[in-house]
């Protein structure tokens, strides 16, 4: 396995303090079994799954509780054995915000009884069936995007490079780092399986330079795997080079067009956690039942990484890590840059939750007083998508949608760099998020207006056609009247003649 450093400099981005020392001090805590499970039916980007269990039914660990129909989906499994208490709507954290969705609530019985060994299906040979079993194994992208892995590994544009993303550049999050240190061999094996499935000529594992133990472990595992074409790229510690688009530009120099996904131009990015899950599914036949979650922040007694069963309520996870310490100002799901604040801690951990920060008052932004923009351009320099946030801010506040298109609002990845570097403390990311909603509504209205114009044009054509048909009819009648006018005249006279003769016969007969 060849280690190299890409010779490109990332565009924009910030060097942020990592805040990862506390959570990487001890190894991943394993063997945690929660008391209850709340399994959301939709824990991936795509259509929701349908439940296959009823209330009161007993389920075992690893048993499918919700089946996925389309390929663009992923099944949901019971992460521990127990009884299904109810199937109801609950508040569940998704990729961008908290939303209400149907969940299966299971009361764990504490035995954690697994399925009988023969139950798991063996790893099939034919690639089509392999994708189906990945989907039925509930494997999704664990980097935070929760895109169904089956659909991403499926046949579309031929894959040029498979990128295993272990960059993890956002502060506080360290689940990938610990996973790479402790399970490097499994990750490399999972990567090779995926590469075989995609028939990708190249495979690059990307790790940030500030994770030496992880790089060491991966190099060791890479040499052991004996695959020569595997490469490891160490990436400068600049946020947000971990984003798909930024990583593709960093590793290949090619820019993903703003209207496409990286997978559509041949670059498949998979998180190290996903590679590990694929390995577990193929080698041990075990579906995605748990994931490593970083629990960090000054408000936690024992910050650490925990292998958490999917569906564990956050409150129980925090209890496992020693509960809160001091006054916790904010509970953030995700990193301190792109994560969002949770209203309470009763919500469950989903497949996409990679980090939980119980932030004390000093760790998070307190004052939201905003000044005028002094056009210093720092945000433009820090923007990884090379946008001009100060112009976007002005267009958004003026809600001038043509200008928003021109300055590339839809290309904003909401990484938050411009917010952090702005000397006037303007909440730029929040402004852009709201502007995106308004912009989407504006675009829908434009499409609706164009359709209406078409419908009105068809309506007018049909009316003109009716009027035209009316005129044609009249012309036809007038034509007929003129051409056979003499014939009609004779017919009338003949009729009069007959009438006169009949009358004369009546008078003769009297």
């Amino acid at each position: 396995m060849l280690e190299y450093t890409p010779d490109r400099r990332p565009t924009g981005g910030l060097r942020l303090p990592a805040h990862k020392e506390a959570s990487t001090a001890q190894p991943i805590a394993r063997g945690f079994v929660p008391r209850t499970l709340v399994l959301a039916l939709q824990q991936h980007q795509g259509p929701p799954t349908t439940p296959v269990v009823r209330r009161g039914e007993r389920v075992l660990r690893g048993q499918v509780v919700a089946r996925a129909r389309a390929l663009r989906s992923a099944a949901v499994h019971a992460s521990t054995s127990g009884h299904v208490r109810a199937i109801e709507d609950r508040l569940v954290p998704s990729v961008h915000a908290v939303h209400r969705t149907r969940c299966i609530v299971i009361d764990a019985d504490g035995e954690d009884e697994p399925l009988p060994p023969g139950a798991g299906s063996a790893w099939p040979e034919d690639p089509e069936k392999q994708l189906k079993s990945i989907r039925d194994g509930g494997i999704v992208g664990l980097g935070g995007g929760v895109f169904p892995t089956a659909e991403k590994l499926g046949p579309q544009t031929p894959c040029k490079v498979l990128i295993i993303n272990g960059v993890e550049c956002e502060p506080y999050i360290s689940c990938d780092d610990m996973l790479m240190r402790e399970a490097a061999a499994e990750i490399v094996d999972g990567a090779l399986i995926m590469r075989e499935l995609l028939a990708a000529p190249e495979c690059i594992v990307a790790v940030e330079r500030d994770k030496p133990q992880a790089i060491e472990a991966l190099l060791e595992a890479g040499r052991a795997s004996g695959d020569a074409s595997l490469r490891l790229a160490d990436i400068p510690t600049i946020y947000p080079t971990g984003g798909e688009r930024q990583l593709v530009e960093m590793l290949t120099g090619e820019e993903v067009p703003s209207t496409h996904y990286p997978s559509e131009i041949g670059y498949i990015c998979q998180n190290v956690g996903t590679a590990f899950a694929v390995h577990r599914l193929v080698r041990a036949g075990e579906p995605l039942l748990s994931r490593v979650v970083t629990v960090a922040g000054d408000g936690i007694a024992r910050p650490q990484n925990v292998e958490t069963p999917i569906g564990t309520p956050i409150g129980e996870l925090i209890e496992f890590c020693g509960g809160y310490r001091g006054d916790v100002d904010r509970l953030i799901l995700g990193g301190s840059m792109m994560g969002y604040a949770l209203p309470n801690d009763e919500m469950p951990i989903t497949k996409g939750s990679n980090c939980l920060i119980a932030a004390a008052r000093t760790e998070v932004r307190q004052d939201f007083s905003e000044r005028f923009c002094i056009r210093c351009g720092n945000c433009g320099t820090a923007c990884p998508a090379r946008l001009l946030p100060q112009e976007l801010l002005r267009a958004a506040r003026d809600n001038d949608h043509a200008l928003l298109d021109e300055f590339g609002l839809t290309d904003c990845i909401e990484c938050g760099c411009c917010d952090v570097i702005c000397p006037s403390h303007i909440p730029l990311t929040e402004v852009f998020r709201n502007a995106k909603f308004a912009h989407a509504r504006y675009q829908r209205q434009e499409v609706f207006s164009a359709e209406t114009q078409q419908r009105f044009r068809r309506h007018e054509e049909r009316e003109r056609a009716d009027v035209q048909r009316g005129k044609d009819l009249q012309d036809q009648i007038r034509h007929e009247v003129e051409t056979d006018e003499p014939a009609r005249q004779q017919a009338i006279e003949a009729a009069i003649e007959r009438a006169r003769q009949r009358r004369s016969q009546d008078t003769d007969s009297e």
Binding site: L342, N344, R375, G377
Partner: protein, 344 residues
Amino acid sequence: MRFDVAPGPHTAPIASVPITMRRVLYALAPAALAHVWFFGSGFAINFVVATVTALAAEAAVLRLRRRPTRVPLNDCSAIVTAALLSFAIPPLAPWWIPAFGAFCAIVVAKHLYGGLGRNLFNPAMVGYVVLLISFPAELTQWIPPRMGDLDYQHLAFLAHLSYSLTGALPTDVTVDALTRATPLDLVKEGLRSAQTYSEIRAGSLFGGIAGRGWEWINSFIALGGLYLLYTGTIRWQIPIMLLVGLLFPATLLWLFDPDRFATPGFHLFSGATLLGAFFIATDPVSAAESDRGRLIYGAGIGFLTYCIRTWGGYPDGMAFSVLLMNSAVPLIDRYTRPRIYGRD
């Protein structure tokens, strides 16, 4: 347990406007001390008068427009404007010169457009140009540096203060005795009257590279500038390109005809070159916004300064070229937008 919900990135911002402005003031401090050391207390008096007028004018305008006065006042951008203005005007200027200059800068150039961040032109330069054009006499009353071997008369602090406030001079001293032309004036008049540059340089007011006293002040300014660059308060595009825009034609023409053109070193260390490069042109509000735009903006100021100094009527063209490029900024911004990621 319930928590409060706040939007957006949770990391606290790492910069703020007051810190930026205060850093600029710290960077200017050594040069200000050198100015007082070489040219007497004139600078200090002007600075105090300008700052008081600037803050008073800002407070008055904000109260007149019923706007909160506490936040804008403590970002001390008005003090930075006053400081830059005091560097530009001669030490021996009556009190109403800095006062009127600061008034024009703050009220006309800044608050008529809506306050910090909205002004189109650099306030300090607008104030200075208004003074330069309306009161040319007072604006040329420069005094020679207080060097050991120079035997020019100098005013003590109290005499200076009384002249500034009342215009009255001690009995045996006249204004003409005190004032001397600046090195830039000497060079321009000398070259115009067919003297060769080396003859002019031989004059007593000239030190190692440029005007005596001024060399030191400008080196301290350069020091302050490097501090700003190091702390990231300003970025390298504008200062470097300004110096390139100025020194490139200077060296070219100097190599072409050393007698009729001043040396690049002289241009670098005289007049407001370094002050303009690190403090005036890098005013974020009136400068171009994208990095490419700043390259053009800086180079433009440097080149125009050189043209005005060599062929123009005024000794130091920095103020005029800053305003000229400020008026070109909207066009520069429109045509130097960075290419968005993923779009051709």
